[in-house]
């Protein structure tokens, strides 16, 4: 008697119990296979024995816990505060150059947040170039506030993109109904639109929260000791067991966040069918549409123009580096980035589709678990994942490892493990918005379960798939720690090059690849988003 039985995608998508169970088991196995390497952590941690417990409740461990959770909370709230209004503005309002803004606003996702952090640190501060240029001393950006600001700026696009997808499939007649019931624009938004897009917002917020939890670079630059720093320093100190233990603790926090999200997102509120009466819910801003452009412009300036500007400034003016050293930039780095990211995006969609469909169409605990388990991979810091992956494959199947080092297979696998959950969320949300009667109609018109999926469900969830692919692509483009450790010899990408330049103090030389990264990502975004238009 759940809503889904009626309007959610027909649960009879898989009518025979046998097939049903088989499918559930397969999806679950797949989900677990993806995170299996992480089980290695438990083996590592087990070596600690009883010390583990003391360590668990030590005051410094608790302090890190509190700090990490606070950072997650603030960044998530900030992401919602920026992402949702921007989505509404670009989907429903008539601001000029909508498409341009849409691409631009999504782009910060392609900028590695540590670059942003680095630029922010360098640009601000009483003696930074911005202060010099403006002639007023600006405060330094660092610590908790600094990390929160930077992380928010580079993660809000998650919420922007998922909210946008929800808004696109919103049934416009519902807002109209609210308006005729004397709701003003705001009230209609609050009372009708918001509850409908809540699952979308929650899906994005989940990604933001887990990103904030798992990010290493930003807190590192901002000198904020959160889980990742803590794990890293233990790890460096050769305390692998403690590092593993902390990683497990981090995964426990992940579990709590997942549970919180499922309380919002997987509640039946996600199952709203939309009649697909698209595009009519216009938010008419009148003359306000020009000033309204200030919001996306401001965000884009802070998140894109600032870092690229800082790097360009160093390129032209000479940074705090060794100006004689030269790293040779090659366009193949760009091509390599695009190549692995595309493969990862396609692979992620292939893996995410069955899991997401399964959990969107069935009410079984198993399938919703299968959809959530992979988030563990996403929440795992890249470095931890890479190390776990290396020890796992080395111990379980060294030849597999060697194959991985000869090809990009390990890198792609790591991308899939880390980023595929992004696709699960968006595919799941859009699948739940497909009116189950459409699938039923296809079935009564003689289409098998699979054909009905191909002819009806699939075309209707394309926006979700595209969003998912875009998320995976963009985040793969910028992934650093796992790429560094898992790529074959001699395989460089834009980010590894940026990293090298930056590590070497050749900040100016990071400007070109950073710019290329943003442009290439922007172009691919434009291509992806173009497919959403019928």
């Amino acid at each position: 008697m759940s809503v889904r039985e009626r309007v959610g995608p027909a649960s009879d998508l898989l009518p025979e119990d046998g097939v049903n169970a088989l499918y559930a088991v397969l999806a679950t196995l797949l989900a677990f296979a993806l995170v299996a390497p992480l089980a290695w952590l438990a083996v590592d941690a087990a070596g600690l024995g009883s010390e583990a417990l003391d360590f668990f409740v030590a005051s410094e461990t608790l302090a890190v816990l509190v700090r990490s959770v606070a950072l997650v909370a603030v960044v998530t709230a900030g992401g919602v505060a920026i992402g949702v209004p921007l989505a509404v503005l670009t989907v429903q309002a008539s601001i000029p150059f909508r498409r341009f803004w849409t691409v631009l606003i999504a782009l910060p996702l392609a900028v590695p947040s540590y670059l942003g952090a680095f630029a922010a640190i360098s640009a601000f501060g009483p003696s930074g170039p911005l202060s010099t240029a403006l002639g007023v001393p600006l405060p330094a950006v660092e610590g908790f506030a600094g990390a929160a600001i930077v992380l928010t700026l580079y993660t809000y696009p998650y919420i922007f993109l998922t909210t946008r997808a929800s808004l696109l499939s919103l049934d416009a007649s519902l807002v109209e109904a609210a308006r005729t019931l004397n709701c003003g624009r705001l009230a209609a938004f609050r009372r009708v639109t918001l509850p409908q897009i809540l699952p979308g917002i929650a899906a994005g917020a989940l990604l933001v929260a887990l990103y904030a939890l798992a990010d290493f670079g930003t807190p590192n630059f901002m000198n904020l000791e959160v889980y990742t720093q803590f794990i890293y320093s233990r790890h460096r100190a050769g305390l692998g067991g403690y590092a593993a233990l902390l990683s497990l603790q981090l995964l426990a926090v992940t579990g709590v966040i997942l549970a919180a999200e499922s309380a919002i997102g997987a509640d039946d509120s996600g199952a709203y069918a939309s009649r697909g009466n698209r595009g009519a819910a216009e938010l008419d801003l009148g003359a306000w549409r020009y000033p309204a452009m200030a919001l996306p412009a401001l965000v884009a300036t802070a998140a894109l123009v600032l870092p690229i500007g800082i790097f360009a400034f160093w390129l032209l003016r000479g940074g705090p580096g060794y100006e004689f050293a030269q790293l040779t930039f090659s366009w193949t780095y760009g091509w390599n980035s695009v190549k692995v990211s595309l493969v990862a995006a396609v692979a992620s969609i292939l893996v995410a589709l069955p899991i997401a469909l399964r959990s969107a169409t069935a009410d079984s605990k198993l399938s919703s678990l299968a959809a959530r388990v992979p988030y563990v991979g996403y929440a795992t810091p890249g470095i931890v994942l890479a190390i776990a992956l290396i020890s796992f494959t080395l111990n379980a199947a060294p030849s597999l490892y060697e194959l991985g080092r000869d090809t990009v297979a390990l890198v792609v696998f790591a991308y899939v493990v880390r980023f595929m959950p992004q696709a699960i969320g968006s595919i799941q949300t859009s699948t739940m918005q497909v009116d189950g009667r459409l699938i039923e109609a296809a079935r009564t018109l003689g289409r098998s379960r699979f054909e009905a999926f191909r002819a009806v469900t699939f075309p209707l969830i394309v926006p979700g798939i595209v969003t998912g692919a875009a998320l995976v692509f963009l985040t793969s483009m910028k992934e650093l720690p796992a790429t560094l450790l898992l790529r074959p010899f001699g395989f460089d990408t834009l980010v590894t090059f940026i990293w090298r330049a930056e590590e070497a103090g050749l900040y100016g030389q990071a400007a070109v690849p950073a710019f290329v990264l943003v442009v290439v990502s922007g172009l691919s975004m434009a291509v992806l988003l173009a497919q959403e238009d019928d």
Partner: protein, 383 residues
């Protein structure tokens, strides 16, 4: 309403369900479907025979749509079995998927594919036909539903009635063995509705399709169906040919649901019943034999069975032959061709009289209502 506890007229009738000698194409046997505490379909049994058009008629929420969904295989019964051509398609341990049933369904909510054009929607069920035949079929059907010009448009841009027509065309295209239609004409204007239902009937007859349609419109049910099944609270209350169901309702519910029905009550006494409409001899009342002597009965009178004439003005009342009338008009409804007057008889019973629109009687006017029938009247034990 406890009906039939006293044996009534109905028992003497031929069971219309037995009129068919062929094997049923569709058979529902004790089918039940529950939603939580709500029993949408309650031990419903029904047979549909080859080539016939059976209409499910019943009040909103009585389980019509649910029954169709069970037949189509979109929902599983909680109990009972469904057979198609004698094969069990849904039962305790068998369930045949919708696409393996060759059953077409027109959805009450249309369920058009928003990502396809109107033409592609219609072609959806016949995509395995050769391209030219398919094209021709789509064109034919769009012509049929007067939407040839909208072929390339999106269903989102259509009006309510246009969507309904596309849904109809889409389900007709593959000529399924069994066609289920859920309120297929509810958004169509009267002329289009007549046109469409004639067409559906023609297609059904020509292709030998068996059809089950749902409607809330009793005129539609009576005029196009081979048989009508009146559903009440999830089970079949009466099933039979339209005339039988209309003229010989087996329960007060059926009587009232199929059209405005008035009742006059009285006690069978000495071969006749004394009512507000005067003395009715028992033999104008269907199957009311002597054996019921002394029973209090309600005799059903339809609007067309009665004629109301203005009573003489009160000023004439004194006159010896002045007719004081036997009731008063309490409501009048204009329907175009006719007026339907609701009259409260002096004894308290309510009846309806249908008159040509030319006979314009005023509200509150006193009238004399006379019975003018040439067919036996139905009766029910008094409540």
């Amino acid at each position: 309403m406890i009906e039939q506890t006293v044996p009534s007229a109905a028992d003497d009738r031929v069971r219309t369900d037995d009129e068919h000698d062929g094997e049923p194409v569709l058979n529902l046997d004790g089918v039940t479907r529950e939603f939580g505490v709500e029993t949408a379909v309650d031990e419903l049994s029904l047979s549909v025979y080859e080539g016939e058009l059976l209409t499910l008629l019943g009040p909103s929420g009585c389980g019509k749509t649910t029954t169709l969904r069970l037949l189509a295989g979109l929902d599983r019964p909680d109990g009972g079995t469904i057979r198609v051509d004698d094969d069990i398609v849904a039962g305790p341990d068998r369930f045949v998927a919708p696409d393996d049933r060759d059953v077409g369904l027109v959805f009450q909510s249309f369920a058009l594919f928003p990502h396809l054009t109107v033409g592609e929607n219609v072609a959806f069920g016949i995509d395995d036909w050769p391209a030219d035949e398919r094209e021709a079929r789509v064109e034919e059907l769009l012509d049929l539903v007067n939407l040839a010009d909208y072929r390339e448009g999106s269903p989102d841009d259509l009006s309510g009635g246009q969507r309904q027509r596309v849904a109809l065309a889409r389900s007709l295209a593959p000529e399924p063995d069994v066609l289920l239609l859920d309120e297929p004409f509810s958004n169509l204007d009267v002329s289009l509705r007549v046109e469409m239902r004639e067409e559906v009937r023609r297609i059904i007859k020509e292709t030998g399709v068996t059809a089950v349609s749902v409607t809330h419109d009793q005129e539609e049910a009576l005029s196009i169906s081979d048989r009508v099944a009146v559903i009440h609270d999830g089970s079949v209350e009466q099933v039979g040919r339209p005339e039988v169901v209309f003229e010989q309702p087996e329960s007060r519910f059926v009587a009232e649901f199929l059209g405005q029905a008035g009742f006059v009550s009285g006690t069978l006494d000495d071969g006749s019943v004394e009512t507000d409409l005067g003395t009715l001899p028992a033999d104008v009342i269907e199957g009311l034999g002597r054996e019921y002597a002394g029973a209090r009965v309600d005799v059903m009178v339809r609007p067309d069975d009665l004629v109301a004439t203005p009573a003489d003005e009160e000023s004439f009342e004194a006159a010896a032959d002045a007719d004081p009338g036997n009731g008063e008009i309490v409501h009048r409804q204009y329907t175009g061709p006719s007026f339907v007057y609701q009259v409260t008889l002096d004894g308290g019973d309510h009846v309806y009289c249908e008159h040509n629109h030319a006979d314009d009687l005023a509200l509150d006017q006193r009238v004399r209502v006379d019975l003018r029938v040439d067919h036996p009247l139905a009766w029910f034990p008094a409540e």
